[in-house]
């Protein structure tokens, strides 16, 4: 940069940094998930069965998935969820999905977990009404799940 204080070069720096992140994502040829686009159909599927069909079939129940959230969600708009995998029982998990059965679109989020990252995610989701929540883990191309029933008090707010 010949004019490091020029505003344009500052903007460019930010742009280059973002570019570096994008490039880093693209430069992982061994990781299928890097090339995987957002599965729009899975996110717009309505109903649990359709959503399962979009992500690759109905998962088997598995006790290696530790799915936790408060028993009673005081605010359906903000329900904390935590998905942890017991890697001794279920190794090689590379994707984690969070589904809320009775939301307009059950699939809330999917996480692609590279090697070196723990199969663990924590986030917060909206739960429209009392229903089952599912944590789905994909390992070696197979799907496994754990279920939790969530009672929500006043799920308005989307």
């Amino acid at each position: 940069m010949t004019h490091p204080t020029h505003p344009a070069s500052i903007a460019r720096r930010g742009f280059l940094r973002l570019g570096a992140v994008v490039a880093a994502t693209a430069l992982l040829p061994s990781k299928l998930w890097a090339a995987m686009a957002r599965p729009k159909e899975a996110f717009t599927a309505t109903g649990l069965d359709d959503t399962f069909a979009q992500i690759g079939g109905t998962p088997e129940m598995h006790d290696g998935i530790i799915f936790s959230s408060p028993d009673i969600a005081e605010n359906g708009a903000v329900v904390p969820v935590k998905v942890e995998i017991d890697t001794a029982k279920l190794p090689n998990v590379d994707k984690i999905y969070v589904l809320v059965e009775l939301n307009p679109n059950p699939l809330s989020a999917m996480f692609m977990v590279p090697a070196g990252t723990k199969p663990f995610v924590e986030t917060r989701v909206k739960v429209a009404q009392t229903c089952n929540l599912y944590a789905v883990a994909e390992a070696g191309g197979k799907l496994y799940m754990a279920k939790e029933t969530k009672v929500t008090l006043g799920g308005c707010g989307g």
Binding site: R17, L18, A20, V21, A24, T25, L28, K31, W33, A34, R38, P39, F43, A77, V78, V79, P80, K82, V100, N103, P104, N105, L107, S108, A109, M110, F111, M112, V113, P114, G116, T117, K118, F120, V121, E122, T123, R124, V125, K126, G157, G158
Partner: protein
Amino acid sequence: MAGRMRIRAQQQGDHTEVKALMRHPMETGQRKDQAGQAIPAHFIEEVTMTHNGNVVMHAYWGAAVSANPFLGVQFEGGAAGDEVVVTWRDNKGETGEGSTKIR
């Protein structure tokens, strides 16, 4: 609304624990305003977390992730002082970024 992100990365024994709080309305597109008009969907679709430039988490989200989304991730191989960056992109093409150093 590309607001500021709160992000913290802490070394916890064999892994680094990152907690990020993004600022975003996460509008589902199903709500109506007081005049009965549908509020257009506006939500984060993609989130990427990097550690020293390597992707440690890549996520796709729907509108059911809560407003001002929280993301907690744990990865191995981090050390104090390393940089952790979280970037997001929403359905309107807006982006946001936050970064921190591992403590």
